[in-house]
Each structure stands twice: as structure tokens, then as C-alpha cells.
């Protein structure tokens, strides 16, 4: 009896884990994928990082207390690891494979963003392109809202220089 209940409990636990992961996926995956794609400059990298992040979430089950934050951090880390792994011999830079042929400004922006540090780029993507508040971005990036604000300010300053814009 006890053995049967144990098996059932395991199955229920597994179903619960999958359900929770699925719920997280439904809420997060579009914005997460967009964020990683723009941050890395590559939809391929985003595809793989996001899929793998959710796969790891499924494997880890209830070890993960906050699935949304966890999957964001993991996807960014996987994407960053992949960018660093590329045998370019140069400092890791995203390879732009985004469909950007419709907007010159967007193309210039993404190219300019390649010259930001990864954390600055992440802050711009989350706060300026995806609309997260500094506090929310801090939670997702595993840092403080104050750090997000400082990095974002630096990123915007750098972008102004790179894009030679006049709102200085």
C-alpha cells in the first residue's frame, strides 16, 4: 500500500512540477526569448538558451523556488556561455542574425548595443526595449534595482556616443 502511494505521490509530484514549469513558460517565454535574442543578437542562441533553460527547470523540479527569475537567469547565462564559447578569438560579441531589415534605426541600435558590456546591454534590453522597471529587471538579472539604474544610465550614455545622437 505504502509503495503504491509512494509511486502515486511521485507521479503527482512530477505532474505538479511539469504544470508549474508550463505555467512559467506560458507567462515568460515570449518576453524571455525576445530579451535573449536582442541581448545576444541571435535568434538561434535565443532558441537554444530558452529551450535549455526550461529543460533544466523541468529537471530540477521543486528545487527551484522562484521559477520565473531562475529561468531568466539561466537563459541569459546559457546564452552568454555560448557567445563566449564561439571560437572567434575575439572578445565575445553577439552575432547579429536578427531580421532587422525593416528599420535602419533598429539595425543601428542593435549594432551599437554590441559595444556595451553584457550587463549594460541586458539593462537596456529589459528596461528600454521590454519595459521592465528597474526593480523587476534587477530581480530577473539577479542584481539590485540600483545597479540596474546605474548600468542603464551608463549604457544610455555610451549609446548616445556610439549613435552620435544629439539629445545628450
Amino acid at each position: 500500500m505504502g509503495s503504491c502511494r509512494g509511486v502515486r505521490d511521485v507521479l503527482i509530484d512530477a505532474a505538479s512540477v511539469a504544470e508549474r514549469a508550463r505555467e512559467t513558460y506560458e507567462v515568460q517565454h515570449v518576453r524571455l526569448w525576445r530579451a535573449v535574442a536582442v541581448w545576444s543578437g541571435s535568434t538561434d542562441v535565443a532558441d537554444e538558451a530558452v529551450a535549455e533553460a526550461f529543460a533544466q527547470l523541468l529537471r530540477r523540479g521543486d528545487e527551484v523556488l522562484d521559477p520565473a527569475s531562475w529561468v531568466w537567469r539561466t537563459a541569459f547565462r546559457l546564452a552568454a556561455a555560448e557567445l563566449k564559447r564561439r571560437p572567434t578569438g575575439e572578445p565575445a560579441e553577439p552575432i547579429v542574425t536578427l531580421p532587422l531589415n525593416e528599420s535602419d534605426l533598429a539595425i543601428d541600435l542593435v549594432r551599437a548595443m554590441r559595444h556595451l558590456s553584457p550587463q549594460q546591454r541586458a539593462c537596456i534590453v529589459l528596461c528600454d526595449l521590454l519595459g521592465y522597471a528597474a526593480e523587476e529587471a534587477g530581480d530577473l538579472l539577479d542584481t539590485s534595482a540600483a545597479a540596474v539604474r546605474v548600468q542603464r544610465m551608463r549604457a544610455r550614455r555610451r549609446l548616445r556616443t556610439l549613435l552620435e545622437v544629439n539629445d545628450g
Partner: protein, 461 residues
Amino acid sequence: MADLQEYLDEGREHVAAMDPPTDLWARALARSNGADADLLDLTGSAQRRRPTFWLAVAAVAAVFVVVTAVVATDRDEDVDTAPVAEDPSVTDPPQGTTTGPRNNGRVAFYDNRFGSWDVFLVESGVGARPLEGAASSDDEVCPTWSPDGMRLAFGRQTTSPDTADMDVSLVILRVERDGSTGVPQSIALDGFRPLPGFDPHPCAVWSSDGRWIALAGGGEVWVIETQTGAIQRIPDLRPSDLEWRPGTDELAIAGDMGSDRGDPTASAPVVMYSASAGDLRQLGSIEAAHITWAPDGSVLAHQAGEGGPSSIGLVDADGTGERLLVADAGEANHGIGPVWSPTGDRIAFQRLIGDSAEGHEVVLVTVADGSQTVIAPPESNEAGGVRQWFPYYVTWAPDGRTLLYSAWHRGGSPGASTPSGLLAVSADAPDEFQVLTDSAPATGDYSHRWAATQMWGRQEG
């Protein structure tokens, strides 16, 4: 020529039109079951990646998850600031590479080693120990010493398990040199509520004569007469700094923390509140988020909040004589702004190092001539290698020659949040420092931080 906002607007529109592939969830499910048939080659070639690649990726991810991250490591020293629930068995042997200062009193801090927040005392040469008579199932937070070093004030929070209602009180306790404590004076703070997102911590700051205490909560400043427990409440204030002018009953109130934790800390006109007269007046025309008084109460140093100029200015106590002390104090995202030394000759502040996201160094500026001395993050040799300590916030010890760092260090155990502790650092010989405790969460980030200025008591050793 387009401005940056136009670029960002275009970028936002473009991003909003991007959609992920529809089979992402199926890929995740397949991988979670060990399948790798759908893996794409991230280099763009048609060649399928070996399974070991994904084992490696998984290993990398796992390591990153528990130790650090590229996003986090690229912000170099960044790590989470969340406090770690400590093992109650943890002991606090005094550590450090050198002998620390021994002429100051005890440092009070709070930690959650035993399942609730409790007040601890630590001093040079003696490990951290719970405050006698204060440990309980209630949360006890934000301890500050009275200027004579004889009384400790801290907040106590009691949450009803049935209603989730929270009672908050201010406790004042006499603490003898041997650690024994007197009968606690408990002052109920009825109606005290934190700003949304902040820890519900009443963080007291003492006036120089020990008669008054000020704290902030719920969009108000509370002023409490310590002998009678009488409370005055000043509405419509969300200050980021409270500093009693030495030798007076005047409280300087600065800054605006916004409506919740996500808002930036902004500058606001500095106002002075007379606790005896109950009146409020503006101090000259300065606006600031962080302030500190000269120990004789004659001059106020001030610094702007986020988005403001990074200078440190001085103004006389009557609001006149505005002048610049530091033209560019750099950027900071931790700390409590400038802190005037008890001896009056120097002001300490902290700033971000280079492009670091959260790693700060400390700068000492001599008030007389504006000259600056930079103190690099101390490094201690541990069994696991060199630890580099970065201040969350820096304050002075009562002797005016020693700095107190509430600090975090790089590294730490897998799975742990930011390891942090308290350091005593010689202001004149920064290589001489002592780790007072390596288990003292920096809990001030989501609370009111000015209490750090009175963490270190003035008792003679």
C-alpha cells in the same frame, strides 16, 4: 539626426514584433527527458552538436546557477544581496590578516541565524554573540547605539500567526560593558508601516544628547522622546536620510525614496525639524538625498540622489555659505552617502570602481583642503584563496581613525547568496584591517540605511 529615444522606440517596436518559434516547449520537454535530436548547431552550420556539448552546457549552466553567472561576472563583482539564512552552529571566530583596532566599543548588527532576526554584538578580538535578553521569536532589527554607548535601540516586529497583522515597537535597552542588559523600554509604534517593498524595519537614529530618536515609515518621520516615549509624527515625508544636528534638538531630513522600492532615491529640499518646538523649516536652498553633519554641528555635507550631480557640497548650519567639497564623487549604488568622521577632519564616501556594477571603493576626503585618499577593497587570505571585500556601506568608528565596512566578498559557497561581514579598517593604514565577523548580512538595502552610522558604540575598550 534622431535622438536616442527614437532609436529605442524603433527598437521596442521591432522587438515587440519578434516571436519565438512555436516548438520551444516541445524542445524543452524533449531535453528534459534526455533527448537531443532537435538540437540546433549554434554556430549556424548544419552539423549536429555532440551530446557532450549539451552535457557541458548543462554543467556550465549548473555551475553558473549556483556560483556565478556571465551576466553576473560581467558585472564583475556582482552578486546577489539577499541575506543568507545561516547555520545556527556557525561560530564567529575573529578573523583578519592583521590586528584590528581595539580602542572602540562594540558593533551591533542583526542576523537571522536562528530563524528570526536577532541583534548581535561583536568587537575586536571577540566573536559575535547574541544580545542578552533580546533573542526571541520576534524579529529584532536595526540596532543603533546611543551616542554615549550605553543604550541600544532596535526595532521589534511581532507578527500574529492568525491575522498576519504586525505590531512594531521600538525597544531601548541599557547594555553594560559585560554584556548584561537592563529592563527593556518598549515603545509601541502604532500605525507604523514601511513604504511598499521595503523591510518593515523601524531604524532609529539618536540625537547627540540621547534624548531624541528619529525614524521613518509609511510616509512619515517619527520623532520619539526616549525618556517618556512621547511620539511626534511628521507627515508627507519619505526621507532617504535623517541626521540630528549635533548639540541641538534639530533633525535634518533629506531625500525622497519614492512610493516604493523600485523608485530611485531622489534629492529633496533639506528641512530641519525642531523636536522641542515642533516646527519645520527649510535649510537654505539645498536639495540632497544624503547628508552628514560635522561633529560640531556647524556644517552639513550633502550629496544628491540618483540622477543628480555626483558632487559633495557643504553648507553652513544656517543654510548659507554653500560651497563645493568634491566636484565629482563618482557613482554609487550602495552606501549611505558621505559620512563625517567623529574627529571632524575627514569625510568618507564610497564610489563604484571603474565599470563595476556593484564593487565600490572608499574615498576619504580631507575637509580642510579637499584632498582625497582612495582605499581599495581590502583583501584577506583565506584557506580558499584571496577574498576581496567590497563595502555595502562604510561608516566611522567612534575613534575617527577606523572605518567600519558592512561588506561582501567575491566567491562563496555554491548555492549561497552573497557572503558578507563586518570589517574594521584602519583609515590611515588600510592594509591593517580585521574581519569582525564574516556572517553579517547587509540588510540595509531594502530598509533605511542611516542607522549604519550608529552601529558602532562609543564604549571605551
